[in-house]
Symmetry: C2
Subunit: 478 residues, 2 copies
């Protein structure tokens, strides 16, 4: 399918925002007659009919990626109406482009025949991408329509995890032998109707399909026609194994500005390729997952998901947060006697906890990011810790003194001011220490340092802040 995909036109892009707005309007107006449309009945009302025709026309002009965007931005009923009007041949491409959450809702709304029709035109790698979300029966029947060779490839690719190169590789590549002249290659290429998307290099293999090298198109075009492929090709090229991690592959693509790269199996045989467009998706999803995880969301949400789905996506972190808040509350509870004597402590303690949380989050975000970029090895943890403690000391003394003076003036008690300075400085030091240690230890334990790091650090700085502040106050003021 991707082979025949058209180049988007500039006029598409310029019209897009207007089209989307118009689709929103039209789908809302047509909602009352959705049932008739669904049943294929003629709509009596002339105006509505004209609007229906207009909507269908706009949808036909849109690129599948744009249809996907439109569907994501529509509330459930309007989304169902528009999805019903998308032409069946485009269904598969659109399903590939929408977010996971929206894809689920679309697939749920389709019956088996509609799904089979939608995936019928897809490339092998595209079918692999959708397979996880499709009912088993649909995948099974879709596989039966493919030829045995393709079926084997699809089944092999389906056996990889989502985060492995094997799951996102495609099978649309051109391979040649090393012992032919460049001219022969050019003649060979001319026999194709179309070259696969993103073809920036041709793979060179021997008779057993073992990868010998790659012939960049850029080199082929400037090479002497008589020259042999063997003399023009690059032999020691970046290649991937299907078990490798996609995020690492994406970093290699980014680092070395690759467009495509070969995938080989344990016998060094060429089995597929990966392309920059998949890698761009990986990069986007990776940074976004970090962002969502730090905020306590398990996965990307369909904006218009039913309330219940959103509750499920968010309940876990809320529950963890409640537990840590409860612990902090018990820390305060232990000092109720002190608060009864100096009630000002109750008003001041959230300041100490708050600045610790903010500062700890700054530290941990910076380190999580550096780790994701591979800039940080365990070796430098000690040095980084020293630096972060330096930053915390400066901030603690500066801002602690500011708040200390303010508290002193508010409550006319210099003791409270001094406890404030000491508590803020100590809590910032705690935040710096834990902010460095949490991601470093998570990483050593082989876990994702982004996951829940923000909740963890806030838990430590809250309970720690209350403990330090109320503890110091009890020691020195009471």
């Amino acid at each position: 399918m991707s082979i025949e995909q058209e180049i988007p036109t500039q006029s598409d892009i310029e019209r897009l925002p207007l089209d989307i707005e118009r689709i929103h309007e039209l789908s809302e107006v047509l909602l009352p007659v959705f049932e008739q449309i669904e049943q294929g009945q003629q709509i009596e009302d002339e105006t509505l009919n004209a609007k229906l025709v207009e909507l269908i026309n706009i949808l036909q002009e849109l690129h599948p990626a744009d249809v996907a965007d439109v569907l994501e931005s529509l509330p459930p009923k309007e989304r169902a109406l528009v999805w019903h009007l998308v032409s069946p041949e485009e269904d598969g491409e659109v399903l590939l482009e929408v977010s996971d959450a929206v894809r689920e809702t679309l697939i749920e709304s389709m019956n088996k025949d509609e799904l089979l029709a939608a995936v019928d035109d897809l490339d092998a790698d595209e079918l692999v991408e959708l397979a996880g979300d499709l009912p088993h029966q649909v995948v099974y029947e879709a596989l039966q329509t493919r030829d045995p060779d393709e079926r084997a490839k699809i089944q092999a690719a389906m056996s990889y995890e989502d985060d492995q190169v094997g799951a996102i590789m495609d099978f649309e590549f051109i391979s040649i032998r090393a012992d032919v002249a460049c001219e022969v290659v050019l003649r060979y290429l001319r026999r194709f109707d179309n070259l696969p998307d993103h073809t920036d290099k041709i793979f060179v293999v021997d008779q057993y399909d073992v990868l010998q090298g790659v012939l960049p198109i850029r080199k082929l075009l400037v090479a002497d026609p008589e020259e042999l492929v063997a003399d023009v090709m690059a032999t020691d090229v970046v290649r991937f194994r299907p078990e490798e991690n996609v995020e690492e592959a994406a970093q290699a693509f980014e680092r070395y500005d690759l467009i495509t790269a070969p995938v080989i199996n344990a016998d060094k045989k060429l089995i597929g390729r990966i392309t920059i467009d998949e890698m761009v998706d990986v990069i986007r999803e990776e940074t976004e997952a970090d962002m969502l995880n730090m905020a306590g969301l398990q996965e990307e949400e369909d904006l218009f998901a039913p309330v219940w789905d959103s509750v499920k996506n968010r309940w876990m972190w809320l529950a963890i947060n409640l537990c840590t808040a409860f612990i902090a509350s018990r820390v305060i509870g232990a000092f109720e006697g002190s608060i009864e004597k100096i009630v000002a402590l109750a008003a001041l303690m959230p300041i100490v906890a708050g600045i610790g949380g903010n500062s700890g989050n700054q530290t941990i975000t910076m380190i999580v990011r550096a780790m994701a970029m591979g800039q940080l090895s365990g070796l430098q943890a000690g040095r980084l810790l020293k630096k972060e403690i330096g930053v915390a000391l400066v901030n603690g003394l500066v801002w602690g003194t500011v708040m200390g003076v303010v508290s002193w003036m508010l409550y006319g008690n210099i003791g409270i001011g001094l406890v404030m300075v000491a508590a803020m400085t100590l809590n910032l030091l705690l935040a710096a220490t834990v902010g460095v240690l949490i991601p470093v230890l998570m990483d050593k334990a082989g876990r994702d340092p982004a996951l829940g790091s923000s909740v963890l650090i806030t838990a430590v700085t809250d309970s720690g802040g209350f403990l330090i502040f109320l503890g110091l106050a009890t020691l020195f003021l009471i």
Copy 2:
């Protein structure tokens, strides 16, 4: 320069982690003799000399992107040593690859002649990219060495803002006329030593350089040699204006799987092109900037920056956080009388504030992300608000009841339990409302919705949570 850049080799990638570790070791061992190395003196010690040679050899083998990574992961002194040993011809490429913060430190360590030598080999677009960080005098002298045509291009590109397409376009493209045969184009290409990186299409222009269309290499390779370019080329193609926003351009690249695209001026004349590798950087930086901003960091930090630089990067958000914490503290201060009577309130109030902050951050992160992806127009704000209020109601009643029962049992006071349920539910409703409104209003005001949204929502849910909880307690329990 990029034209001659070599394809990375697989052995590079496999050896990379080992090399980096070895560089760390070697640079540490060589630090004591850095002064001698800098002054070009022979090192007496045989072992040290051997290590120096080894270090130089490893560095010579590395791709500039990998050298950049090594420099980012080294502490200041070791970094200076390694940077001194990188061969001058590679300096420019490495400067292009390192992060902004590290680039500054490297440039500061170089004198004018070293900088001029480093930028001498760079392409026009690469010089533009570095220009902002170089001393004016260096930029001025570097421009004098370029021919007038190139100088004009560079000066034009330098006049664009960092986030405009004009600032990242390059000038390495091949253009042809529409009235020649494909065969002629192939012969013309063969006259080049090398084609520009990422050449996936050739631009078709008329005698005034006005863009007529593009000829994808994929089509050129399968076309009949006799056919005219005019009959093979695509005419209505995605093109960009230099004033356009790079993030929007990156979205178009991602959406339509582009590799390169032409940039045209107001007269539709072809003035440059943009490539996927720049767009990948834009995508990475965009999501990362959102993440850093939400955590209260102004910009990416050099991990090993001096303490003072880090303090400067973080002080603003800490100050804002202190102000909002102070407001929350005054809210509590207003209820000191109630806390004196029921000291349990002091222990329970952070739970109400905390869950509001966590839940509000979940809402706001989801909406900021949806806006960044263009999935959310102002029209649906009302509908989203309704949904988020539904989620907040479910969470508030469920978790509120849990904590209400716990508080009741802890303090043996059913009144406290009931106030807890009510306060948690109300604060979650507040979090949902403000979580939707902040980004929607920021967006309407033309500001970046990610900027500081996390701090803002936490400020509202903290002060709001204390006010609701202590207010209800004062009304019903005292």
